[in-house]
Symmetry: C2
Subunit: 280 residues, 2 copies
């Protein structure tokens, strides 16, 4: 396994495999890898010959008052995990290499980025789609792997890849969870002990919604109100509890077909997000 910092060097390395027609699987991450990332890597490993994992804490997707600086980082541990999983290349660029002086190009997916997290993190998805465009162009993978935990992100990236004719398959893998249901996230490392105990309530609220829908509830407002009651006990603040159409991410009033139930809430000083898809 090679850890590569330079864009040019990575491209040169990857050109070799491409000439031989070897399929390239790509897992873009911000590092501090957990079981969720590893499940993406394992799937990529199964389906490709060359595996690239990028580790880049992307400043463009953090708001001015967000946790860019304190986002957890541990390249050594990440490298060991990647090596164990059979990754071929870790791409670990500097911020200056990705956004050199004079940088001015941004990729934006409209519509899909306005609801859910987009409402609370106004420039977030523009930062995500911009960096993922760059990474896709650098790596030129056949398939890229994302986690369902960031459902909106996955939907936005799939839209972008299709709209811009990137010719890259986007695969979305199930959310990895702790035993108590908490969705794995690099940010969980920063939960206070009390926060960590309260955090699984997010998933329990989602499960409540799932159970209600499965047992015939169709009124989204009623379901969300039940979730809110449950979540309010554990969360310091709730950004949103939403039931949306997984195609256009628009709020659903009367549940019909497949819906995405999504939550963002502040617990123990951290903003946690989670979601489930449910079919009525």
């Amino acid at each position: 396994m090679k850890i590569i910092h330079s864009i040019n060097k990575l491209q040169k390395e990857l050109r070799r495999g491409r000439k031989k027609g070897l399929p390239v699987g790509f897992v873009p991450t911000m590092g501090f890898l957990h079981e969720g990332h590893l499940s993406l890597i394992r799937r990529a490993r199964k389906e490709n010959k060359v595996i690239v994992v990028s580790i880049f804490v992307n400043p463009a997707q953090f708001g001015p008052n967000e946790d860019y600086k304190k986002y957890p980082r541990d390249l050594r541990k990440d490298a060991a995990l990647c090596k164990k999983e059979g990754v071929d290349y870790i791409f670990y660029p500097a911020v200056k290499a990705m956004y050199p002086e004079g940088y001015s190009t941004y990729v934006k997916v409209e519509g899909l980025t306005e609801n859910l997290c987009g409402k609370y993190r106004p420039a977030h998805f523009r930062g995500v789609t911009t960096v993922v465009s760059k990474l896709f162009n650098i790596v030129r993978p056949d398939t890229a792997y994302f986690g369902q935990k960031d459902a909106q992100q996955a939907i936005v990236i799939r839209r972008m890849a299709e709209d811009l004719n990137m010719g890259i398959r986007i695969k979305v893998m199930p959310t990895a969870r702790e035993k108590d249901g908490l969705a794995m996230s690099s940010r969980n490392a920063y939960l206070s002990p009390d926060g960590r105990s309260a955090a699984p309530t997010v998933y329990r609220a989602l499960q409540l919604a799932g159970d209600l829908i499965k047992s015939g509830s169709r009124d989204a407002a009623k379901i969300k109100s039940g979730m809110r009651k449950m979540l309010s006990a554990a969360a310091d603040k709730i950004d949103y509890i939403s039931i949306v159409n997984p195609e256009d991410l628009k709020d659903v009033k009367k549940i019909k077909g497949k819906v995405l139930v999504a939550v963002a809430a502040w617990i123990g000083g951290m903003r946690l997000i989670d979601n489930i898809e449910v079919k009525a």
Copy 2:
């Protein structure tokens, strides 16, 4: 030569050449080809093995009151010209293929798109960079060719290709001109006879600026005022007369080093643009 409408089909065709490592040259156009386009095609022909010309009047780069509908089109004549120049593929997609229902992704270069034409055509460059991103992803050329007549466009696209790590060389070829100096443009076809007679004044005003700078003038305001006097006699309306830094397209007051002198003016019912680069 093949005329291809389908994105998938073109990609399949191009995959063959790419496997053999044949360099691909790409000339994106809106059709109604003139000598300016042909000079790009000839250069592409010289430097590559596979030549793709796209013909697509891109609705996303026209404002609501602009000439999208009446933009001149003549595929038959264009095809004959391309064939004569040894083009391998004309890519001629339908609007619905490029912007299917639900389309929502846009690429934007900030900063460089705010001055000059960007001021008068607010969504224009976003439309250009979006469609060029798509075309680049579809064709995956080694080199793409643009005309200096659309200087701002060329600078914006070069910035985009670099920022997004597209790995595509952008070559900019000199403006092709009629004998009387008028910059060639597909839109010239729609000039009234009076307009056609008056139109070369645009280039003469640029030449005046060039002469003044070459002979030692350094005060941009003074030069522009001389140009305005000359141009006012011929133009119905002047959008801008600008002297800018060709790197960042910001207005220059005191001329030093290389500058871009650029004009947009309405003559005979058409909006004409032209520019020259001058070194002080």
